[in-house]
């Protein structure tokens, strides 16, 4: 799907040991599998089922997502920054597609 676009908001810099807030949103219909089309046939489920956030290769936060999460899944969580580095965000789709995004953070 070309329409899937991840968006992430991470502060540009933080002081060592600071807990920062990260906001992510990915445009995705999150088809629940409960809806029916005009002819009464069920529309197959297609959702983002997993999200992971890593910092310099170590997992910071992850979640298992079910169809009850709204379309364009929005996630807000925190991370403790001890060093400068790169946040890597990964979304996994039911169809096997993987969407990723990276953000740098510096220490001030």
């Amino acid at each position: 799907m070309a329409s899937v676009k991840p968006r992430v908001k991470v502060p540009k810099s933080a002081s060592a040991g600071e807990v920062i807030t990260i906001k992510t949103l990915i445009s995705h219909p999150m088809e629940s599998g409960q809806r029916k089309d005009g002819d009464g046939n069920p529309i197959p489920r297609q959702i983002i089922n997993t999200f992971t956030c890593e910092f310099n290769g170590q997992t910071v936060f992850s979640c298992d997502i079910e169809p009850a999460v709204s379309a364009n899944p929005y996630l807000e969580f925190t991370a403790k920054v001890g060093e400068a580095g790169t946040f890597k965000f990964t979304w996994v789709d039911d169809d096997g597609s993987v969407y990723t995004e990276e953000k740098e953070i510096a220490l001030n």
């Binding site: 936060f61 079910e66 009850a68 709204s70 996630l75 969580f77």
Partner: protein, 151 residues
């Protein structure tokens, strides 16, 4: 059999009843028992305590398609004592599972926010599990004006 006016009438009434009955059987809904069974499964046999965890959701949600929900758990979030995961369940949706957040000591705080779908007015339940084996639970009723599960 010849179709008389009377038999035609009974046929069409029967068909109409059939259609209405068919329409009523929408998506099956989970019950409070299903949701509690999920909570107990997640807790792994430990009786959930109240407090420490805060679930924040609106009292009245106008649109069940996007209901903001956030959880936060008081925890030192150190390597020996941190919140491992928080699961959210909704007892009136077709399936009670909503989302499971997995934290690490690198999360800094055990708090997260997302947006969920609610099919109707129901209870939203959040359960937290810590690395020391403690389980905490919070519950909140959300009134839904327009359901969000499509039909």
């Amino acid at each position: 059999m010849t179709i008389t006016r009377r038999s035609m009438l009974t046929l069409s009434v029967g068909a109409a009843i059939g259609v209405v009955a068919g329409m009523r059987s929408g998506p099956a809904s989970a019950t409070a028992e299903d949701a509690m069974a999920k909570v107990m499964e997640f807790a792994g046999g430990t009786e959930p305590a109240t407090g420490t965890i805060t679930l924040d959701a609106p009292e009245i949600a106008e649109n069940g398609n996007t209901v903001p929900v956030s959880v936060s758990v008081e925890s030192p979030m150190t390597a020996d004592d941190y919140v491992e995961s928080v699961a959210i369940y909704a007892d009136g949706n077709p399936s009670p599972d909503v989302i499971t957040f997995n934290f690490t000591p690198m999360s800094g705080e055990a708090s997260a926010t997302t947006r969920m779908r609610l099919a109707k007015t129901q209870n939203v339940i959040a359960v937290a599990k810590t690395s020391t084996g403690q389980v905490f639970m919070d519950k909140k009723e959300v009134k839904v004006t327009i359901g969000g599960c499509g039909g």
